[in-house]
Amino acid sequence: MTQATEVLLPASPDEASEQFGDGDDVTVIGGGTIVVPELTHGRLVPKKALLLSRAGLDTLAHQGDTVTIGAGLPVHRLAELADDAQALAECALNVADYEVRRQGTVGGNVCAQPGPDAPRGDLQGPLLALDAVARSTGAGGERSEPLEDFLASRDGRLLLDLSFERPAASAFAALRYPHTHAYTVLAVSGVRTTSGETRLAATGVAEHGVRLHRAEGAVDDRGVAALADVELADDALASAWYRERALPVLVRRVLATLEEAA
């Protein structure tokens, strides 16, 4: 199976971009935690596999108040950002387990398509609340756009990095996930910017994480208002009925934490 696959092992970000090209027939392997089981069990037979483990995308940089996270950064290293964006660090430590957090990458988590039984991509939540900018390459070359837009059009793109401005405060609240499931049933992230704006986002409510725009703009109960931002579905982890009751609670918890930080 694997012998028919052309394996590309770029040694720099530029080489990775070049070898990815338009992304046609290319399967990207970051840490391998999502793609490798697909190969092992024969569900995926790539024409070309682009292995990013030596591509030098595992960077984490601060420039003034801007934080830039390379797509190849292992998830566990986001714990280093506790002082910059508590919600992101907390969410990262909530992903899977010790070993998988060291192996899985930020890019893989953000770009993962929904699994067969539940949505993936826990990190999308805090990164959406941080209004992160996604820099990617692919057909038409390099582009930078808000993560919210990137998530809607990520097919055929190779994520290079994500950057965000340090917020005044951030908060994260999640339902505990059942053992052996690496993804959260439902999680809410919130950010208060230095100019006093509040941004909210949720994961576990759709195919990928979503900004809770209506909740952000609501004056009354923002927890209930958040229900207008999502289309809840039943999956292997929880029913829509349950999520409908839990989402407002998590939104209120996040807002309470943000208020405490004021």
Partner: protein
């Protein structure tokens, strides 16, 4: 591609996308890493890659080319068990043995990074490892004992010579 496994270097012929688990078990005949779920969720394939625990089933060979790998066979020998292996023996922390290799590798790394005997911290460190016999109490006791620096006299605690063959299920 090359790997140094338990101190011995190997030139490998497996394809670049072969998993480290397949390379260890099929090409090198090292059977302590187990093929459990083969999707990263059970922990039974865990080995040390350059000193850090990693799921061998999730790791393409090309991603670890040139690395140093340690399996349970490299922790100690039947004559001279490592502290973790002694603790697992003393505390009867193996039932069917299938998860034991992964548990011991995770425990080895936990102790090496200065982990304490705090049960919650141990649970967090072993959180990616499933014991199908649900023998967690004794496993956690064993890890706590190593973290505390307990010493074990296995001549009085091991019920049979077979008990020292931890991780021997192939």
């Amino acid at each position: 591609m090359k790997l140094t496994v338990n101190g011995i270097s190997h030139e490998l012929t497996s394809p670049p996308l072969a998993t480290l688990l397949d390379v260890l078990r099929e090409e090198l005949g090292i059977t302590s890493p187990k093929a459990g779920c083969e999707q990263g969720g059970c922990g039974s394939c865990t080995v040390l890659v350059d000193g850090e625990p990693q799921r061998a089933c999730l790791t393409p060979l090309a991603a670890v080319d040139g690395s140093e790998v340690t399996t349970v066979e490299g922790l100690g020998s039947p004559e001279e068990l490592s502290a973790v292996q002694q603790a697992f023996t003393h505390h009867y922390a193996a039932q069917c043995g299938f998860c034991t290799s992964g548990m011991m590798i995770a425990a080895e790394a936990y102790v090496a990074r200065g982990g304490t005997d705090d049960h919650e911290a141990i649970q967090e460190a072993l959180g990616g490892h499933v014991c199908r016999c649900t023998g967690y109490v004794k496993i956690i006791d064993a890890v706590a004992a190593v973290a505390r620096g307990d010493s074990f006299d296995l001549t009085t605690t091991a019920p049979s010579a077979g008990m020292t063959n931890l991780g021997g299920v192939s």
